[in-house]
């Protein structure tokens, strides 16, 4: 069972520049085991870059990443995945030329099916019609399939980049339900999200990124109470709240 005193994923002083843009600025971030964290921030805040650094898609200019106490900063993306990172992309990247089954088999690396994967597959209603091509799925089903693919590889930390983008409110709620169910089973999850209703329903803790740096961190109530956060993120100008 998860040990809430244990930090499962730890980023220390992460830096990343693209030319003149600072996409990650001294990011210190700790996820405890069994936590469900939401990362929010306006477009271009550096959320996807943060995930790219965690997954090793981009090398950081400086800083360190630890997974379960082990330094993974120098590891290649596939090695990090084998050590327990599971990840989905902001734009859906399932294999379109393949069936659902082939997508999931590829994601499984030949291992046994983990229980959370089966639970999610059933909860999303994807366990039937596995021999359909991905192109037969609706947009939100492809998003769900990609989550299932990440789960199929037995991750200890799941990183989801805007999983509900383009979903209807009902589909978004269902996504939130399944993620919370997975989390209550002990899985540690980080979700990048825009949808405030989703974040409110889902997150235990929220991290706000702004211009590449961590701007605020706390519970949803604490975050929404902060005026500066509202100013940069919630789009509310000071005058309005005053």
């Amino acid at each position: 069972m998860p040990d809430p005193a244990k930090t499962i994923l730890h980023a220390i002083g992460l830096q990343k520049r693209f030319g003149g843009v600072v996409a990650a600025r001294d990011v210190d971030f700790a996820l405890t085991e069994g936590e469900l964290r939401c990362v929010i921030g306006p477009n271009g805040a550096g959320k996807s870059t943060f995930f790219a650094l965690l997954a090793g898609i981009q090398p950081p200019d400086a800083g360190r990443i630890e997974l379960e106490g082990e330094d993974i900063t120098r590891l290649k993306p596939f090695q990090r995945v084998r050590k327990g990172l599971g990840l989905t992309f902001q734009t859906n990247r399932t294999f379109h030329a393949m069936t659902l089954r082939q997508n999931l088999d590829t994601a499984g690396r030949g291992g046994e099916e983990p229980a959370p994967f089966r639970a999610a597959l059933t909860a999303f209603g994807l366990d039937r019609g596995l021999d359909r091509p991905v192109t037969a799925l609706a947009h939100h089903e492809r998003q769900w399939l990609e989550i299932c693919m990440a789960l199929r590889g037995r991750p200890s930390v799941l990183l989801l980049d805007e999983p509900t983008a383009g979903m209807s409110p009902v589909e978004t709620r269902r996504t939130s339900d399944v993620l919370r169910e997975l989390n209550s089973g002990g899985l540690s999850i980080i979700v990048v999200e825009h949808d405030i209703a989703f974040v409110r329903a889902t997150a235990q803790m929220v991290t706000v990124l702004h211009q590449g740096a961590i701007f605020a961190e706390g519970t949803m109530a604490e975050i929404t109470a902060r005026e500066d956060v509202r100013a940069i993120y919630l789009g509310k100008v000071r005058e309005e709240t005053a």
Partner: protein, 350 residues
């Protein structure tokens, strides 16, 4: 649920999703073709059977390129380099062991395939571990083939004698036949050896592409980054496919040199280097079955054309390649099947 683990690989080879011919009509066609080839010598002279063996012997090389390019998305223009290396190394080893031809043949085969695989391993390491852009792989493999051809052309004279065997520069090198005990693989025996090799390579690759590793190869053709983030070492998967394809080229090279007892540097020239690409592109690169059939037919065509002294052979194959790339980029056989299906559906509808 998805996970009944795949039953037996041989079954998967004939029912798996990654090639045409996975249903009873397809099996019937394969069976008929195989039967035809098995019975052919009964009606043909040893000379004709030897010619047909020649049309068949390039199939392993073509199948290897199909695996690499059609399934893995990695294009190589230099498969003939591995063909040549295996042929030359076999010639040197077997040619130095004429006192014990059986051992010479066996060691020659092992050394030839080993050399082709080793060259691919070293060359492929630099290319794939550098994660170069997709267009660099065909360019560098082509350069490899051309430089190999130039090098082999320079090996005239006694300085280039390995033991008893002279490499011979542009004059080429004489090579002993395959021999086990007193049995020499010639004529009908060579024909059956070639048929058996082709069948084994085909089935082996069908098993491979319908296995988990084959699935991964297709995944990395579709999206390498996605595949890496499912926990696969993309560089290693690509390198392994490259080495397999090289060894298959080597098999064709061995068949070639033991067929004609002769090899020259021209086997790795620019014109020769283009041929595997043509067979695979015209046949239908992501279908092993289509590639196998078209490789046989095109080899027969060019052989007939060029032995009639026709200098248009290269032009015809060039035009065929351009036309297929323009009008049926997925390949002739997949296009024909699709047209056939459409026609059937039309008939059903009316």
């Amino acid at each position: 649920m998805p996970q009944k683990r795949r039953p037996n690989p041989l079954r998967a080879a004939f029912t798996g999703p990654h090639d045409i011919g996975r249903t009873p009509p397809g099996w019937a066609l394969m069976g008929l073709i195989l039967l035809g080839f098995l019975l052919y010598p009964a009606t043909a002279s040893a000379f004709s059977a030897t010619n047909v063996a020649y049309y068949l012997l390039n199939i392993p090389m073509a199948l290897g390129l199909s695996l690499l390019w059609g399934y893995g998305g990695i294009l190589s223009f230099g498969q003939v380099a591995f063909f040549a290396v295996a042929g030359y190394v076999y010639g040197v080893v077997a040619g130095n062991m004429t006192a014990d031809p059986t051992l010479g043949s066996i060691l020659g085969i092992l050394a030839g395939l080993g050399a082709a695989g080793l060259l691919a391993l070293i060359f492929g390491y630099f290319i794939f571990y550098a994660r170069v852009a997709a267009w660099i792989v065909p360019i560098l493999t082509l350069v490899l083939a051309l430089l190999l051809s130039t090098f082999l052309g320079l090996t005239a004279g006694s300085a280039w004698k390995v033991g008893d065997v002279a490499l011979g520069g542009y004059n080429g090198m004489n090579i002993p036949s395959l021999q086990i005990g007193n049995f020499i693989f010639q004529d009908y025996a060579f024909y059956y050896l070639t048929v058996a090799t082709v069948v084994l390579c085909f089935i082996g690759l069908r098993i491979r592409v319908n296995s988990h590793r084959g699935q991964v190869l297709i995944a990395l053709r579709e999206d390498p980054l996605r595949t890496e983030l499912l926990g696969y070492d993309v560089r290693l998967e690509q390198l392994v496919a490259f080495v397999i394809a090289a060894v298959l080229s080597g098999i064709s090279g061995l068949l070639y040199v033991t067929w004609g007892n002769y090899i020259t540097p021209s086997v790795t020239s620019l014109a020769q280097a283009s041929l595997p690409v043509i067979w695979v592109a015209v046949g239908g690169r992501d279908s092993l079955f289509a590639v196998m059939i078209l490789t046989f037919l095109l080899n027969q065509l060019t052989y007939v054309l060029s032995s009639a002294g026709n200098q248009y052979a290269l032009i015809i194959t060039g035009v065929l390649l351009v036309a297929v790339m323009l009008f049926a980029p997925e390949g002739l056989i997949p296009r024909l099947i699709e047209l056939g299906r459409k026609a059937l559906r039309l008939k059903e509808a009316t």
